[in-house]
Amino acid sequence: MELLRFATCGSVDDGKSTLIGRLLFDSKAILQDTWDAIELSSKNRGDEYVNLALITDGLRAEREQGITIDVAYRYFATPRRKFIIADTPGHVQYTRNMVTGASTAHLALILIDARQGILEQSRRHAIIASLLGIPHLVVCVNKMDLVDNDRATFERIRDEFALFARKLQVRDIAYIPISALKGDNVVDRSEHMPWYEGPALLRYLEEVEIALDEDLDDPRFPVQYVIRPMSDAHHDYRGYAGTVAGGVFRPGDAVRVLPSGLTSRIRSIDRLEGAIDAAVPPMAVTVRLEDDLDISRGDMIVGVDNSPHVASEFEADVCWMAERSQLTPGTRLAIKQTTRSTRVLVRSVESRLDVNSLDEDPTIDTLRLNEIGRVRLRTTQPLFFDPYQRNRLTGSFILIDEATNNTVAAGMIRRPLP
């Protein structure tokens, strides 16, 4: 059984909560006591039916204000896959929340109200999904019951979206007409839309191929922790623990260590259960080398003929997430990328991205809360990275305000600068 992480995006009232509620309920992830509580709340609110949307309702402050404030994670499983939903609510903090939820997602599910068609927000969701390198997009045209399950309506929305999506980097896009409320095409194919020949949403989520989404070409192993038991049984043991961030590592492989540039071979890939003969992303393993090299946290073991960029100046897309501060040229921050932590200076803000249209505004030199822009950065220590669109693990970073210790930005590297 594989694990699929997906982010859900929709504007208010598109039916996102109802859809998630239905997926959870139909896959029996909603237990009886939770259901009873929801039934009761629905009655108290005067709803005519059990409000599936209440299933995903969270913290008290939100319940009182009737809003959702953050990314919430939900879990359900079918016999074929386990699913983690990153539910990102659509209002003020939207961009920040969606970027957060999308960062680990294999797939983004975008909801469109069939009566309204593609809104500005729908485009924004798709643009953010694309920017965050999510390989798979599912566009659910919801509330089909309110448009008489009309085929032409669905196809018009599909074609319009496909036209717009040509500008995006998303690898594959599926379109599914559904009714979250009635359950049409959610778990089972609907009788009400015989003209639709594709899979129901759940079937699609169970079958979409995700194993090849990781970068399996470029061997990347950021050293996270050095293991030295210093016990009699393992006297000379020196292993490098970490999470594989790219490529396939096997014992015997020739590797290079950054930043030293020294080369060696992999002696073994260890786990408590025994040595293994191949490691791929995102496995957590311990690597031993044939030679005794001086390696510490923040170093990276890479393919001998396949190095990432080693640079301290680069261009990146950055999403600013702080309320009380902004990003401008000259700003100094801490940066964390793979297992490396260093400091960074903002050299310039090249442009701000209009997340509703993909237009870039080059006259701007400040990024504020929820804004995304292209910036040039210079780090104190060089980083080892790949372009984000090639490798999401080595191409991503966070920026930290050293005064407040808050995470203030998410970044995706585009290219090194000379």
Partner: protein
């Protein structure tokens, strides 16, 4: 060279492999970036899995931080016995924060009466223990699927210098990049099992053949019924009129303080049987067996703000 097909097969991890990798990554990250981590260990199944993951994260070296037990004094003896044995096996240090001692020394007052529970008192002792040992990161076994208020909990949950949690001041968490920077006196609760569900935990215990305390399996025990739940008859719980004891086959789904952990009727004597029962149970773990969460819908959230696990 590997063919595309071989690579796809290699890259296809099971959900438990993926969850395990994520948890080990988190545990190592904390060990690398914090000065004084500790791992909360109660002898319950979640903390047992967490300890197993920590063992894997550093093997063949020892786990580089102590296990921490907040002891209410109302434990199931099976859980304590298990704790001591496991800690000895791993050769790690055990730090015990004792609620009884805090009561004896007058630092906190015990609740009295039939509904007395030391659950709330644990919070204070936990915070004292964190301060006394200057822990800057404390691993907890909480899962996001346990309860509504947890669905938005971060993996690195920031606590101010009063140990308190503010849902509005949590940091965004992106990719696998965790920000553990903190000031003096502030600390993090770190939840490596955030993305596991109860069923994942059980499947992992089965797959890895991990030993768990006997009270997780069906056994005969004297119990009484309260608020629709079965509570164990024992020295720490006062029964109300009408709460007559009877014998039943029961097992526990969580192992906490005896005063607030209820049993479920069960004939599951093996792990496979326990998992089969859980797969068909339609009542959530906390709703079924934790008296402490039943008082109000927002009970958990309130306790978290105060600094609970």
């Amino acid at each position: 060279m590997t063919t595309a097909l071989e690579r796809a097969q290699l890259a296809r991890l099971s959900h438990l492999q993926a969850l395990e990798a994520e948890s080990i990554h988190i545990i190592r990250e904390v060990a690398a970036e914090f000065e004084r981590p500790g791992l909360l260990f109660s002898g319950g199944k979640d903390s047992i899995v967490m300890l197993r993951l920590a063992e894997k994260a550093f093997w063949p070296a020892k786990i580089p931080f102590p296990a921490v037990h907040i002891d209410t004094g109302h434990n199931f003896p099976e859980a304590i016995e298990y704790r001591d044995r496991r800690v000895a096996e791993l050769g790690i240090r055990l730090v015990v924060g004792s609620v009884q001692q805090a009561i004896d020394e007058g630092r906190i007052r015990d609740e009295t009466g039939p509904r007395a529970s030391r659950n709330r008192l644990q919070t204070q002792v936990l915070l004292e223990t964190i301060a006394a040992h200057r822990f800057d990161a404390v691993f907890g076994g909480a899962r996001r699927d346990e309860e509504k208020a947890r669905a938005k909990e971060r993996v690195y949950s920031f606590r101010d210098d009063f140990g308190q949690w503010d849902p509005k001041s949590q940091r965004p968490e992106l990719w696998n990049l965790y920000n553990g920077r903190h000031g003096q006196g502030e600390h993090f609760r770190v939840f490596p099992l955030s993305n596991w569900t109860e069923l994942d935990i059980w499947q992992y215990i089965a797959d890895e053949d991990i030993e768990i305390p006997a009270i997780y399996f069906a056994h005969r025990r004297d119990v009484f019924r309260r608020d629709g739940m079965l509570m164990a008859v024992g020295p720490f719980v006062e029964r109300l009129p009408g709460e007559d004891p009877f014998e039943a086959n029961v097992r526990f789904r969580t192992v906490g303080d005896m005063t607030c952990t209820a049993a479920v009727e069960s004939d599951a004597f093996s792990l496979e049987q326990v998992m089969a029962e859980i797969a068909i149970t339609r009542i959530s773990e906390r709703g079924q067996t934790r008296a402490d969460d039943r008082f109000s819908e927002a009970a958990m959230e309130d306790r978290k703000r105060e600094g609970y696990f």
